[in-house]
């Protein structure tokens, strides 16, 4: 725990020492609806509150409620919990709307005392006065119970994920890397609460990459 705290402090210090950076909070409510035996719809509402940004838009405060996302993904179960799906995200940010179309394939594997999930995703983003943005994403997530060999009700767990995003816009490619380490509590098999540190390195192909550090808080519920 001491090392985790030290790591968080160091990461925060690194993020704030770069030329371009943001520090903020990402709250999320995520729900899952079962539709028949094979289909599910995942609905997510997620906000982003910035507490610090450098540089920040002229005339604006560096503290800003930057965006609010509403996302729906319909997925069809293939085998076990492997699934293929597609969906739509609408984002309210800076007084305008952004639309994103999403396709994904996910694989979940049970290990002896943990779970591993792979998510392959493509998306297309349409935003006013900007060229179409295409992204190819891969995310690896790992969940480890902190008590026993499986996450049972009223038990804590650790969740770590790492995501790589290839981005194409205006015929120019870029790269983004994300890492998340969070602590979760399994209230019941239908409800979880998680909080953790989400670190993102954006525009890695540019001369001045952007570093972002967020505190994530997520509520998950299955209907």
């Amino acid at each position: 725990m001491r090392y985790l705290f030290l790591y968080i402090l160091l990461t925060a210090a690194c993020a704030s020492s770069f030329a371009q950076n943001e520090i903020g909070l990402i709250p999320q409510i995520n729900t899952d609806f079962k539709v028949g035996n094979r289909w599910k719809v995942n609905a997510k509402i997620e906000g982003r509150q910035l507490f610090f940004q450098n540089p920040y838009p002229a005339g604006l405060n560096e503290r800003e409620f930057e965006r609010l996302d509403l996302e729906f993904i319909a997925s069809r179960r293939l085998a076990g919990q492997d699934a293929i799906g597609g969906g739509y995200l609408i984002r309210r940010s800076g007084g305008s709307f952004t639309h994103r179309f999403i396709q994904q394939y996910s694989i979940t594997n049970k290990l002896t005392a943990s779970r591993l999930a792979h998510r392959f995703r493509t998306d297309q983003t349409i935003e006013k006065d900007k060229a179409l943005q295409l992204r190819l994403r891969y995310r690896l997530s790992w969940e480890k119970p902190l008590n026993g060999q499986a996450v049972d009700p009223r038990e804590f767990y650790l969740k770590v994920n790492n995501e790589y995003l290839g981005i194409l816009q205006n015929a120019k490619g870029n790269l983004e890397i994300r890492g998340l380490a969070s602590l979760g509590y399994n209230i019941s098999d239908k409800n979880q609460i998680e909080t953790g540190i989400d670190y993102r390195m954006e525009k890695l192909a540019d001369p001045n990459p952007v570093d972002k550090l967020f505190l994530n808080i997520g509520l998950y519920h299955s209907f």
């Binding site: 899952d32 085998a79 699934a83 996910s106 049970k110 008590n147 979880q192």
Partner: protein
């Protein structure tokens, strides 16, 4: 927007309060909470191997399980809450089973599923504590013991692919079978 968020949070909390919970549960316990008879069996059979103790609760009651590694093999030893020995299980490679046992199990599973893939194989030993201790220590065994096989697999039946657990005898007879209900993985995917 504030009202929408408040409603969402409120509905989450209300639904969480009425949710049903899974009855199977496994959790780490301290060695000091384990009956001494169980500790003595483990120490006598495994020597100084590092032991992890777990409590188990399911529909049939409570149990205590010791997990440890010996000679690179993962052992699970199950006791009831009074410390009476129930069984010993060892994780093995399916291909290491005797050929006739493999053939009998494969034939049985092929009758249940159009397609299947074995994920985990465990040998289950049932006998008296003396015999089981001798088996663990690879000593000559004085007395009979029963060998069963616990197989976890991903199987397809009528177009549906799910995880299942089978307990089979050496002859491939099904002693117990159950579909594994997996916990939702949406917190890993989204």
């Amino acid at each position: 927007m504030k009202l929408t968020l408040s409603l969402l949070i409120f509905s989450f909390v209300v639904t969480a309060a009425f949710s049903q919970e899974k009855l199977e549960r496994e959790y780490r316990i301290r060695q000091s909470d384990v009956p001494s008879i169980a500790i003595q069996f483990i120490q006598g059979s495994f020597g100084i191997a590092k032991i992890k103790w777990y409590g188990e609760e399911n529909l049939t009651g409570k149990a205590i399980e010791a997990k440890t590694k010996l000679d690179g093999m993962l052992y699970s030893v199950k006791f009831d809450t009074s410390g009476a020995l129930q069984d010993v299980e060892i994780v093995v490679d399916y291909n290491s089973l005797p050929e006739n046992t493999q053939a009998a199990i494969t034939k049985q599973l092929a009758a249940h599923f159009s397609k299947f893939r074995i994920q985990k194989t465990q040998i289950q030993w049932l006998s008296s504590p003396e015999v089981l201790s001798a088996l663990i220590k690879k000593e000559s065994v004085q007395g009979k013991h029963v060998i069963n096989y616990e197989i976890t697999l991903k199987g397809t039946k009528d177009g549906d692919t799910d995880y299942h657990e089978f307990l089979l005898s050496e002859n491939g007879e099904v002693l117990r079978k159950s579909k594994i209900i997996e916990r939702n993985s949406h917190n890993l995917i989204y």
